[in-house]
């Protein structure tokens, strides 16, 4: 099923012509109004009005999360706040979040793309869509919400959590489509089993699961336990939110909506673009965004692109399920966590050494994070109470920046490895990616 058949099934030539036209306009605009891009382009000797062909893309500068941080909060916006009608935020690499903005037109584009994504997996105006992604600064909840409304489906904006209620409402309201993180889908399935609710008691037909990596083994488990077809959805707030790419019913990769997002895979070391079929870092250029247009944004997500035409007839290239990260970012219950955030919090708090270790595990279906922090050598710790208070303060500070709950474990001084590469700081016991 198509939402916008003419666009989704146009020829590759037509698509590339559209992309080139949009790229040219984008570079002209950001070069004129965003000082950051004006300087970056000038540094490479590129005049904003000189970019006309898709081949020119490889000469354009990259944008990174650090650039967003350096221009916090609104420095990369290409419009004034008067034009901005919505702001979302995601995790930054320090104590400050990454801020993104939308004009009215951006929100319309986003709704349309989410409608396109949901239609691709079979959602119609007869569907009942239960949105169990978090609502708020996180783009997941509101992104799916407005896309489903655009189609005319009935939306249940339940947000995340309160799992028994999720099951009860799914049963009573006749939910046909569930949207949440894949790990939360499994939590719902477990709770269903505990409540004695079977898949046949529900009307679930499809699930739209994203915001964290998952394997095909997990897909099979979810499909069996919930009695639905499970589809992977991809997006990131910097680019727009969910609705950058979606699996179609063929489940052979996620179609990237290339009429709005130019996608490349690059060698993360050299920055050189890689041909289709080779594994590397996903890089997106937003072709139509008004408030926060980004040129060659490096996602840190590792994947492979395939250009062969899909059985579904869509013109858009497919990306494989995300296969890993170029950096040490963790995704905990759908929330992006950068270990450097923990370091920033500890430095800011100043009560302990800034050394830490993160231990991530999935007990049952829920991600759990333990932050190991050293007791300061001379801490007045003759009473348990004082140590517990220290633990509480550290936990509170970390939770307020990371936005997820963690457990803090105090360890003896000098037992955490010192700056011997980032790998040692993280012990991730989950199996999130396909082994290849």
């Amino acid at each position: 099923m198509y939402w916008d058949q003419a666009t989704e099934t146009m020829s590759r030539e037509q698509l590339e012509e559209l992309q080139a036209r949009r790229l040219s306009a984008l570079v002209g605009r950001v070069g004129a109004v965003v000082p950051f891009y004006r300087e970056r382009l000038a540094a490479r000797g590129i005049h904003p009005s000189d970019v006309h062909r898709l081949d020119d893309l490889r000469h354009l500068p990259f944008t990174t999360k650090k650039d967003l941080r350096d221009n916090y909060p609104y420095g990369l916006f290409a419009v004034g706040l008067r034009e901005v009608v919505r702001v979302h935020a995601s995790s930054g690499t320090t104590g400050k979040p990454t801020v993104v903005g939308y004009t009215h037109h951006d929100l319309e584009t986003w709704q349309d793309l989410m409608a396109r994504a949901l239609t691709a997996v079979g959602v119609t105006r007869d569907s009942v869509v239960q949105v169990a992604y978090g609502y708020g600064l996180f783009t997941g909840g509101l992104g799916v919400h407005y896309g489903a409304e655009r189609i005319g489906a009935s939306v249940i904006p339940i947000s995340g959590g309160n799992t028994k209620r999720q099951v009860m409402l799914a049963q009573d309201f006749g939910t046909t489509c569930l949207a949440c993180t894949p790990s939360y889908a499994l939590t719902i399935a477990e709770t269903m089993a505990e409540m004695g609710v079977e898949p046949k008691d529900l009307k679930l037909r499809q699930g739209v699961f994203g915001a964290e990596p998952w394997t095909n083994a997990m897909r099979r488990e979810i499909e069996t336990k919930l009695g639905l077809q499970a589809y992977d959805i991809y997006g990131l707030s910097e680019i727009i939110g969910p609705g950058v790419a979606i699996e179609c019913e063929a489940k052979t990769g996620l179609h990237v909506f290339e009429d709005h997002f130019l996608v490349e895979v690059i060698d993360p070391e050299t920055g050189e673009p890689l041909p289709y079929g080779e594994k590397g870092e996903l890089v997106f250029t937003t072709l139509t965004k008004e408030a926060l247009p980004l040129i060659r944004y490096r996602t840190g997500d590792i994947s492979v692109l395939h250009a062969e035409r899909c059985a579904c007839g869509r013109v858009f290239v497919r990306m494989e399920k995300v296969k890993g990260r170029t950096d040490d970012m963790l995704i905990i219950r759908g929330v992006n966590v950068f270990p450097s955030q923990v370091e920033a919090v500890l430095l800011e708090l100043g009560e302990t050494e800034p050394h830490y270790q993160l231990v991530v595990d999935r007990t049952g279906t829920l991600d759990e994070v333990e932050v190991w922090v050293e007791v300061p050598p001379g801490f007045p710790m003759d009473e348990v109470r004082r140590l517990e208070e220290l633990e509480r303060r550290v936990r509170g500070a970390i939770e307020s920046v990371l936005g997820i709950s963690v457990r803090v474990k105090l360890v003896e001084p000098h037992t955490i490895p010192r700056s011997e590469g980032k790998a040692k700081r993280i012990v991730d016991r989950r199996e999130l990616y396909e082994n290849n």
Binding site: P377, M381, D382, E383, E388, L410, V411, E412, P413
Partner: protein
């Protein structure tokens, strides 16, 4: 009048307590009294030793989190109700006890108890006024 108590932070894993006691033993330091407070993740080892200054330095050099705290060594009549009488003195003075533990050895026919309260000088005063004997540090280390 206070006695210097050494506290060491220990993770709950095998061999930590043995390491502390071996280190002190190899350096000729004698442990006179000890107690352990523990939670699921960690423990606090509190000790009275014959040379607190050197013990603290040795432990710190060995990488342990160490702190010293003043506590009171109080002689308690060695009979039913003996401890209660002493504690009632502190309670009447509005002094909260953070923790206490006992010495195995005795300086006299009375039992010897280590008591930690926030306001040590006040505790010394009220105990002395009530006729309770509080031993000075140097007598306790030499026991």
């Amino acid at each position: 009048m206070e006695v210097r108590q050494i506290s060491v932070f220990l993770e709950n894993k095998a061999g930590r307590l043995a390491k502390v006691t071996r280190l002190l033993g190899d350096n000729g330091i004698n442990i006179r009294a000890l107690s352990i407070a523990d939670t699921t993740d960690f423990g606090i080892l509190r000790m009275i030793v014959n040379d607190p200054e050197r013990a603290e330095r040795l432990l710190r050099e060995a990488g342990f989190a160490v702190t010293t705290t003043g506590v009171l060594a109080v002689e308690v009549p060695d009979r039913p109700g003996g401890l209660a009488e002493v504690l009632e003195v502190l309670e009447r003075a509005g002094l909260n006890i953070e923790y206490l533990y006992a010495f195995v050895e005795k300086a006299s026919p009375d039992a010897l108890v280590l008591i930690r309260v926030e306001d040590l000088p006040k505790a010394v005063r009220v105990l002395t006024e009530a006729g309770v004997s509080v031993l000075p540090g140097k007598r306790v280390y030499a026991l």
